[in-house]
């Protein structure tokens, strides 16, 4: 299985966010998408997840299930945790597992793995931001999908949570999965490729500004 992109460009609200982004990612590989704020890391993941259309370029998948789109074979872990406050922790995970057609027997195991096993019956309204993130990560464990699109997955996690997340990602890669993660910090993976969305030197847009412009 391989996800490839050639010359992807993204335009949001009339502004060019990035252009000519290309990458290739085969199974068992991870790609860390880096860049300053507003460089388009989230937009790139949302393009791959099929939520927004690229302004130009091509994105395709080799291998995998030909009947399904990339989005239908991917887990998207965005900034929002998709947790309903009026449902309990277990009910939230149970719903997503059932919705994605997975075996719901693994719900409790997944909650134990992310460290929420002892509060499974608690309404999700009482969870902290880090606990909500752990609950969304548990979704990746109950439902098997080969492509993981992770947008700042570790942003609200504590050190122990980050450690577990790295373990989960590592075992996902060993199992033949693909990971695309937007990140500021290190992913903690041994051999992740890096894709920087900051403007490269050969495409100067900001660099050639006249420094000696008459200042008021």
């Amino acid at each position: 299985m391989r996800v490839s992109a050639i010359n992807l460009a993204c335009r949001r609200g009339g502004r060019d966010v990035f252009a000519s982004v290309s990458f290739q990612l085969a199974h068992g590989e991870a790609l860390a998408v880096t860049g300053r704020n507003g460089a388009g890391k989230s937009s790139l993941l949302r393009i791959i997840g099929g939520f927004i259309r690229p302004a130009s370029g091509r994105l395709w998948l080799e291998g995998g299930d030909p009947e399904l789109s990339i989005a239908e074979q991917a887990h998207y872990l965005g900034h929002q945790d998709a947790v309903k406050p009026s449902l309990s922790v277990a009910e939230n995970l149970h719903f997503w597992s059932a919705f994605f057609g997975a075996d719901t027997h693994k719900v409790q195991d997944a909650l134990e793995l992310v460290g929420l096993g002892n509060i499974a019956a608690l309404p999700a309204a009482y969870l902290s931001a880090g606990q909500r993130r752990r609950l969304s990560i548990a979704r990746l464990l109950t439902v098997k999908r080969p492509i993981w699109l992770l947008d700042e997955p570790a942003s609200t996690l504590d050190a122990a949570g980050r450690g577990r997340l790295t373990d989960f990602m590592q075992s996902h890669l060993v199992g033949g999965g693909l990971i695309l993660a937007a990140t500021h910090g290190a992913l903690g993976l041994n051999d992740a490729q890096e894709l920087s969305l900051d403007r490269p030197a050969h495409a100067p847009i900001a660099e050639t500004q006249q420094p000696a412009e008459a200042a008021p």
């Binding site: 927004i52 965005g78 945790d81 998709a82 309903k84 449902l87 009910e91 997503w96 057609g101």
Partner: protein, 222 residues
């Protein structure tokens, strides 16, 4: 459990829990209908004559009350993105959400209608006809409403816009719903004529609503 039943069960669970919209609709319905006799006065003939119209108007407004949150809450907490990565067609997902909304807001209201109809001097044989019009007509209100809910999903305070978009489209349902209910209560028009048109309107919205709402949602998400 299939994806669609999972979604149906989840939406119904959220609706009946704290902060859900299930009870708000039926309470609103009961309050509006209860206040009418106090406003009009104890003129039984008049109440009987306008009773079906009052019940239908209250039902229409009550079923719109919680509708603006149908997709907006899923959009705000990121659930909608995940729902889109599911393998069920968006049209069926919308139909399932519409069904959950109808079961939690319209069905309690239909159950309450015979009791509350007594306040408007609608007698038991006529009540059966009235309840039947509500049972057949309220799905049309919900499925016209989901189109508005899908259009207004990304807007803050989309409720007012929803009402402006949806209310004109519900006018045919209202006309034939009230006509059928009136026929059941007072005659002399046969009940069957407006009722058949009401059934046709409901069947048409059940088909068109999910497709229109899915098109609107796809546009909104971009």
């Amino acid at each position: 459990m299939t994806p669609l039943t999972a979604l149906l069960v989840r939406d119904m669970r959220i609706a009946v829990r704290v902060g859900g919209g299930a009870l708000i609709g039926v309470l609103f319905f009961v309050v509006v209908v209860t206040l009418t006799p106090f406003a009009i006065g104890p003129d039984l003939a008049l109440l009987r004559r306008i009773g079906p119209a009052i019940l239908w108007l209250a039902a229409l407004l009550a079923s719109l009350l919680a509708l603006d949150r149908l997709f907006a809450s899923d959009h705000e907490d990121g659930s909608l993105d995940l729902i889109l990565t599911g393998r069920a067609p968006l049209e069926l997902i919308i139909a399932a959400k519409g069904l959950a909304h109808w079961l939690t807001t319209a069905v309690p209201l239909i159950v309450a209608a015979p009791l509350i109809g007594l306040l408007l001097d609608i007698e038991p044989p006529a009540q059966a006809g009235l309840v039947l019009t509500l049972l057949v007509g309220t799905p049309a209100l919900t499925f016209v409403g989901i189109v508005g809910a899908a259009i207004a999903v990304t807007l803050r305070r989309g409720g007012l816009l929803l009402a402006i978009i949806v209310l004109p489209l519900t006018v045919p349902v209202l006309i034939f719903g009230v006509a059928a209910a009136n026929a059941a209560v007072a005659g002399p028009v046969p009940f069957g004529t407006p009722f058949t048109v009401l059934c046709a309107l409901t069947l048409a919205t059940l088909v068109i609503g999910p497709f229109a709402a899915a098109a609107a949602l796809r546009l909104d998400i971009e």
